[in-house]
Amino acid sequence: MMSVLTDVQQFVGLTQLQYIVLGVTLGAIIGALPGCGPMMGVTLSIPFTFYLDPVSSLALLIGIYQGGSFGGAISAALIGIPGTPIAAATLLDAYPMSQSGRASEAITLATVASWFGGCFGGIVLLLAAPSLASLALNFGPAERLGLALIGLTAIAGLTTGSTTKGMMSGALGLMLATVGSDPFTGMNRFDFGLPELTGGLTFVSLLVGLFAISEMLIQIESTSPPIRITEKIRFSAKCLLTIFSDWKNYVRSSLIGVLVGVVPGIGGVTSAFLSYKVSKDLSPDKEQYGKGAPGGVIATEAANSATTGGSLLPMLSLGIPGDPIVAVMMGGLLIHGVTPGPAFMLTNAPMLNGILGIFLIGAFLLLPIGWLLLPVFVNILRVPKSFLTTLIIALCIFGTYATNRELFDIWLLWIFGFLGYAMRKSGIPLSPLVIGFVLGPIVEESLRRLATISGNDFWGFLIGRPVALTCFVLIAVMLLSPTLMQLYRYLLRLRSSD
């Protein structure tokens, strides 16, 4: 533990602290805006991280992730629209509380629960990441390939909608990652004679276009009425005492959040609804849930904030992002030449400890920052949508331009914006594409090294590698189970209609 503290002191200076504070503040503000959220915050910040050192850029991104996961609760409580999908479960009780004149209590509870869940997730991350990474030190290309494909398959299979479309999106991401020179032979692939494509597609253009521009296109299409909030919001200090009076709910929900976060492809929405259900089932005031029960707000917010710690665990220790936001953060690290995973842990253990320390500091700062920002949130929600849309689009364009100072990147931004819009409208999830793009080089390198090592006996080689074999069996189960379940339900339907 002492070495961790020494490493944190070495890597986290005043500059990094400033970026953590800035990240949590920006994240909470962006998260509170309906239609935005942590993904939008992290996406818009990626271009600016090019100008920072790796630790500072991760401090900013982690802060935005933590703040954004909490910010969604503000709009859920005040206007009944979750700023982010992960705050949808918070709305169930926070909004009825606001409607009955308890908006300050709802938002304070959300702040305290997010703070507790974030700190819990941070402590678990601090304890588990080094052990998991040291277990993975013996992993070769077969295991790395298996883990990368598990991450991708889980995201593609578990996201909302059709598994086939999720897989298509992931395959498209892997395909887009092959644009540019081949890492082994240096041969140019899919560059169509354009010198701008020899280095591959710009990650920032792809990311900002897919997520931010497509979201703004949809925002321009919607004609929601302006938001009116008249109530004054104050921090309610008595809500802090719920940590002691309802401690079981806090701990249980945070634990659910961390465990769900570790599993690739599930994420904050599931953890929030799952802990809400558990909290409701175990509560003596079951009938109050959905009508403004404080326990419901605590359960959902503690769980979704703890999920952030859980979802960072596979990325930092195994190099596999289990969540699209974490994939974007990993992309940001790769740009700086830092490849998370067991090897990184071996060569850069102090830096890993610094990153873990940053997470814990960010989680801890959520309470004071949330406290100070409470009156600001109401004013932010009053800003007209047209101004926010314009500001975000301008940020997208100039943030992308700032990456390489190339006009070509702005053209790519529009192309990916159109692609993202078309994918959203046709029900194709975007997350597998981003994860496929980030994992693409790892998958290709591992596969080609594996082909070289195993010669002509690929399956024979896998049998000798139990971890890799388990990964491939799990992938097969994840791919086949939805089809088998659908067939089973169809046969049941046929039987009942007979």
Binding site: Y51, M168, T178, S222, R424, R448
Partner: protein, 169 residues
Amino acid sequence: MTNLTRQSVVDVAIGLISLGLGLSVYFLTFGFQIGVSSGLASGMDASLYPRLIASILTILGLVLLVKTLFLANVYWSGSVSNGRDNNVQTGTGLIKLFPLGIGFTIAFPILGYFLSTGIFVVLLLFVSGERRPVLIAAAAFVIVLSFYLLFRYGFNIVLPSGQIWRHEA
């Protein structure tokens, strides 16, 4: 074959695009075969991995087509809309933003940062629904100036001054 709903038509289109993309990429990869058996790549050449992904895309396209056209009773592929806003006019975002975005990208190096961004921001505020001219002008001024200060002095990025002004000078 079943009657096609709007969702099914979309799914058929996605299946066909995936199939077409997969096949096109598959054939494009035949141009990457120089470099076979070089160094670490002796197991797989530069074309094999993209060809593998192209095959997966092709198969997935076929699977979606078969599911939609022939097995619609067995499978349900999820809804197109994410159901988050009932007041959505599909397509208007593209019609409003894309011509503006493309126009800006062309004009940016020619007219320079200040003029192209100023016009772009004013038009963008207008298409986003803002109709108060004083507010539009004030917001455009603030956005253009603050972005200039941020990028020029915060990140040390020289923004284009405009080819036409340089030519005249």
